[in-house]
Symmetry: C2
Subunit: 303 residues, 2 copies
C-alpha cells in the first residue's frame, strides 16, 4: 500500500483536465489499496471493485488532492485521503441502493451491486469498503496528523454527517418539506463528506489552523451547492446523461431544493453558495486555483 511520489502540480488548466488527471491518479492508488479479485474471498473483492471502478467523477478525491495543493502539499500527501473518501462514497451508494433502502437497479449506468452480487454480498462489500477506507488513512505520510484526519472523515460520515443525513432523508419522504428541512438533509447527507474530503485533504497536506478553517467553510458551501445541482439535474436530465434513473426523488416524495423554491431560484442559490465558497479561498492565494475551478465546475456540470 505504498503511495507514489508526486510533485506539487501546476494549475494552469481547467477543471475537466484536473478532474481527469485526478481520476487517473486516484484509480491507480485505489487499485493498489484494494485486494485483487483473485484474492480470497474472491466474490467480496469482486463486488467491492465492481462498485468502486464503475466510472464515477471522482469529485471527492479531486477535492482532497486540490485541498492538499492549496496548502502547499502534494498529490502523494493526500493520496490515502483521496482513496478513503471515494471508498466511503461508494459504500454509501451500495447500501443506499439496497432493496431495503432506495431499491435502485441502476447506478453510474450499470446494474447496482446487489443486482449483480446479491443483497448479502452488497451489504458486506459496503461494510468492507468502509473498513478499508479507515485503514487507508493510516498510510498518510504525516503520521502525527492521522488522528485528526480519521476524526474528520468519521464525523463527516457518521450520525451527524452522511449516515444521519440518509436517515433524515428517509424519514422526510412524503412529509411536508421546508427550506430548513431540505437544507439540513443536504448538509448532512452530501455536503458533510464533500467538506470532509476538503478538510482531510488539507490536513494531509499540512494545513495550518487558519487554512483548515477557510477550507472547511469552502467545503460546506460547495457541498451544499453540489447537492442542489443534483436535485436540479434529477428533474431536468435524461437517464443517459445522468447514468441513473432520473425523477426518482420527486417520485419518492423526497425533499429537494427545486421542490421548495422552484428550479430557477434553486439555480441562483447554488451559484450564490459557490460565490461565497470562492471568497473563503482569497487568503490562500494562487495555490487555491484548482479548488476555485472545481467549485465552478460544481454548478456548471451536466451530470
Amino acid at each position: 500500500m505504498a503511495v507514489s511520489s508526486s510533485k506539487t502540480e501546476a494549475v494552469g488548466h481547467d477543471a475537466a483536465a484536473f478532474l481527469e488527471r485526478a481520476r487517473v491518479f486516484v484509480d491507480a492508488e485505489l487499485d493498489r489499496f484494494l485486494p485483487a479479485e483473485s484474492d480470497v474471498p474472491q466474490t467480496l473483492h469482486k463486488a467491492m471493485r465492481y462498485s468502486l471502478f464503475a466510472g464515477g467523477k471522482r469529485l471527492r478525491p479531486a477535492l482532497a488532492l486540490a485541498a492538499s495543493e492549496a496548502v502547499g502539499g502534494t498529490f502523494a500527501d493526500a493520496a490515502p485521503v483521496a482513496c478513503t473518501v471515494e471508498m466511503i462514497h461508494t459504500y454509501s451508494l451500495i447500501h443506499d441502493d439496497l432493496p431495503a433502502m432506495d431499491d435502485d437497479d441502476l447506478r453510474r449506468g450499470r446494474p447496482t451491486c446487489h443486482k449483480v452480487f446479491g443483497d448479502a454480498m452488497a451489504i458486506l462489500a459496503g461494510d468492507a469498503l468502509l473498513t478499508l477506507a479507515f485503514e487507508a488513512l493510516t498510510t498518510c505520510a504525516k503520521k502525527e496528523r492521522v488522528a485528526e484526519i480519521v476524526r474528520d472523515v468519521a464525523r463527516a460520515s457518521g450520525t451527524h454527517g452522511m449516515v444521519g443525513g440518509q436517515v433524515l432523508d428517509i424519514e422526510g419522504e412524503g412529509q411536508p418539506a421546508t427550506l430548513a428541512s431540505v437544507r439540513a438533509i443536504h448538509e448532512w447527507k452530501t455536503a458533510a463528506l464533500i467538506a470532509g474530503s476538503c478538510t482531510a485533504g488539507a490536513l494531509a497536506g499540512g494545513a495550518t489552523q487558519t487554512e483548515y478553517e477557510n477550507i472547511a467553510n469552502f467545503g460546506k458551501k460547495i457541498g451544499l451547492a453540489f447537492q442542489i445541482l443534483d436535485d436540479i439535474l434529477d428533474e431536468t436530465s435524461s437517464p443517459e446523461q445522468l447514468g441513473k434513473t432520473p425523477g426518482k426523488d420527486a417520485q419518492a416524495g423526497k425533499a429537494t431544493y427545486p421542490r421548495v423554491m422552484g428550479l430557477e431560484k434553486a439555480k441562483v442559490e447554488a451559484q450564490k453558495l459557490v460565490d461565497e465558497a470562492l471568497a473563503e479561498l482569497h487568503t490562500l492565494g494562487a495555490r487555491a486555483q484548482t479548488l476555485e475551478r472545481l467549485a465552478r465546475f460544481v454548478v456548471e456540470r451536466r451530470n
Copy 2:
C-alpha cells in the same frame, strides 16, 4: 468524549468479577461516546443504543482492558479501544441478523435490531456504529500510536478478517466442510476481532514490539477457542442459556468444529488452544494474570 482516569487495576479476583468490572466501566464509556437518544436523528441513535446496550458479555472490551494492563497500561489508556471493538462487534451482529443475511429474530434474548426498527434503519445503525468506532480511536491518549491502532482494528474487521470470514461462512453453507475450511472461517470471522481487541488494547497501553507479538499470538488462539466453544454451545444449549436460537448453525448446514471432529474432540481442541495461548503470556509476568483468567473463562463459559 473525555475518558475517565483509572489506575492500573489489581488482578486478585476471578474472571467473572473482572468481566463485571470491565462491563460497568465500558458501558459508562460507551454511554459517553454514543449520541443521546434525544439527539437528531433520534431513531438512528435509538437503534444504535438498542443493540449496543442489549446485555452482551463485553468479552472483547475486557480483553482490550486486560491487554493494556498486561503491558503496564491502565483502563483509561484502553477505554477508546474497548468501546471501539464492542461497537464493531455490535454492528456485525446487526448486519448478520438482517433478512438478507442470517435472518435472525432473536439476539441477546431480545428482538433483533431490524425487527424493532426496520431493515433500512438497521443497515444504517450498523454503518454508523462502524464509523463511530473509528472516531472513538482518535481519543486514545497516546496520539502517536493512533495510526497503528486504527490499522490493527481495521485489518481485524476487514476482508481478511471479520467481514471476509462472514463471506466464507455464507459461501460455505451446505458445502462439504473440512477442518481446514472451518478453521479458516473461524479465524477470520471471530478470532481476528478478538485478537485485534487484545493487540489494539496492548498498543493503547504502550506495548513493546515483543509484548505486542506475544499478545497477538495469545489473541489468535483464544479467539479460535472462543468460536469452537460457540459451536459446542450451539449444539448443547437451550435458547434460555444462549439468549439466541440454538441449533441454527447445524440447520443452515454451517461449518462447525463439532461437525468436522465431533463434540468431544472439539472440546479437547479448544482446551489445547487455551493452553498454548497461556504459554504466550509467560514473559509478561504477573501483570498478565487477568488475561490468563479471561483465557480460561473462554473454555469454561456456559453461554
